[in-house]
Amino acid sequence: MRRLLVLTVFALAVVGAGCGGEDDETPTLAELEKRYICPTCQTTLELSNAPVAERMRAFIRERIAAGDSRSEIDEALVADFGEEVLAAPPKEGFNLLAWVLPLLGGALAVGALAFALVRWSRTRPEPEAPAPASANGGPPLDPELERKVDEELTRFDT
């Protein structure tokens, strides 16, 4: 169980590290096009040719040229289009749940599966010991058949 806990913490740490790999200070248009949602198409900007998406791209270009950081551009777009403009919810406040719950759910599922597997392997019946071979080295006889053979032999002897 302790090993499972360690694995889960490790998985969370790896995912967490992967999420924080972008450079906030020098964003690129290509990177930000994946970051924002076009309010008309409800797809990321990189997939949208809607007029509002074109306008948003122009806005982002202007802001990058002006030296704005990614968080400053985030802030400006959220002020006009709401948090829905972000393709991924911010990792703070109530929105943090959107990041934590799937990881927690995954960890719980893995834990439950591991627990079930351990229980299943412990409660599985032990395989029966092989019956002793018969005196002539052939396969052992069925006990009922053996009893009947013994009876017949006894009768034959008397």
């Binding site: 309010p39 008309t40 007029p51 509002v52 074109e54 306008r55 002020a79 006009d80 289009f81 709401g82």
Partner: protein, 187 residues
């Protein structure tokens, strides 16, 4: 103990599924509400508009359609990047100036747009009628709008009246619907 834990987990799973189904139902109902408005108008009915709270372009006040009870309202959805909206804006301003003393309100709803672009648009066309701002366009689905521009009319009783105009209107069409809205009784 294990059996109790299993029961709790099962109950939690059922609860999650029920919540998801309720959420889906709510979403579908919201979409149907919008689609139904246009159909109801075409059948000659006069449905109530969705209850939506807008904010002003400056973001300092709220606007509810119920605030305009007793007035006829032209509800025009626009965006600064929408080409036909540029032709409509002067006509709307002219109509507002002409009929405002008769009890007409023109309410422009700027959606899926930048505030700065919207302000420039308002300035460029000299718009003096109230403008609401709906940056992410949340209200569009509530009305069943599918593009820009789209125009609705509310009677003095707060119910929809006339046509739901999808796309640009012409002067006659606008005036005809404005008169229909002004002619509705308050109750």
């Amino acid at each position: 103990m294990a059996r109790r834990a299993k029961l709790i987990l099962q109950a939690a799973a059922v609860l999650v599924v029920v919540l998801l189904v309720v959420l889906l139902g709510w979403k579908v109902t919201q979409q149907e509400e919008g689609r139904g408005l246009s159909d109801a108008l075409e059948r000659g009915e006069r449905p109530h508009p969705p209850t939506v709270v807008f904010e002003t372009l400056d973001g300092d006040q709220e606007i509810r359609l119920s605030d305009y009870r007793g007035k006829a309202v032209v509800l025009n959805f626009w965006a600064s990047w929408c080409e036909p909206c540029k032709d409509e804006a002067p006509m709307l301003e002219e109509t507002w100036q002409r009929f405002r003393d008769d009890g007409l309100i023109v309410l422009g709803i700027d959606a899926q747009d930048f505030r700065t672009d919207a302000r420039r648009f308002v300035e460029r066309y000299g718009l003096t009628y109230p403008i609401a701002f709906d940056g992410n366009g949340a209200s569009l689905g509530r009305f069943g709008n599918t593009g820009f521009p789209e125009t609705w009319f509310l009677g003095r009783d707060g119910r929809l009246v006339g046509e739901h105009i999808v796309g640009p209107f012409d002067r006659e069409q606008l005036e005809e619907n404005v008169r229909a809205a002004l002619d509705t009784p308050v109750r």
